[in-house]
Symmetry: C2
């Protein structure tokens, strides 16, 4: 699973942590229904999670669309904005779990957070 | 749900993000079995997640024990240590979801991450 975190929002580490929790759970819940076998395999093999740097809302939406066009599970989190950022801000996109090769087709060029 | 993140390990934001994803999922999976009604309530009310500063492995273990003594769901993540930190290092403790009043009995004195 990859977590693409918007760095342009200048969120604190705490805010990023909570948003990544939301995104992880959103993808897990979607995929455990759609493809429980894939989720079990991921759980048995260390349930890898990698956080990557995103740069804008547009980029997150584009990556989400590409992921979905490859039949990958993808969920972006829209923050309620009660704390550090504007309501309705898209903060983190989670993709997967899925084979690394497939995820790399979407996010292979992004840098580690 | 609170996520107590060890700040003494000097993890990068990316590492913290992945560990918080692990911890969130661990607590969710445990509690959805033990108390699905509570999880549903939390999901319907914004599934709050707050990241807090932890200072040591001992502290994480102590908070985990206190949480469990109050019948709260608590899971700490032991990292495989393939990247930034030593194998077997405890990185993040998740507690909850649970009523704020109860979680505050365990982590009310900790600062926001």
């Amino acid at each position: 699973m990859v977590l693409v975190v918007r760095t342009d929002l200048k969120m604190t580490a705490g805010k990023i942590s909570a948003q990544c929790g939301h995104a992880t759970l959103a993808c897990y819940k979607a995929l455990v229904k759609a493809n429980p076998k894939l989720v079990r395999h991921w759980e048995r093999t260390g349930q890898a999670k990698i956080a990557l740097k995103g740069t804008s809302e547009e980029q997150l939406l584009e990556l989400e669309a590409i992921a979905k066009s490859l039949n990958l599970c993808a969920r972006s989190i829209v923050d309620a904005g009660r704390t550090q950022i504007e309501p309705g801000t898209r903060t983190v996109l989670a993709i997967g779990p899925a084979p690394v090769r497939l995820i790399n087709e979407v996010t292979g060029s992004l840098r580690l957070l």
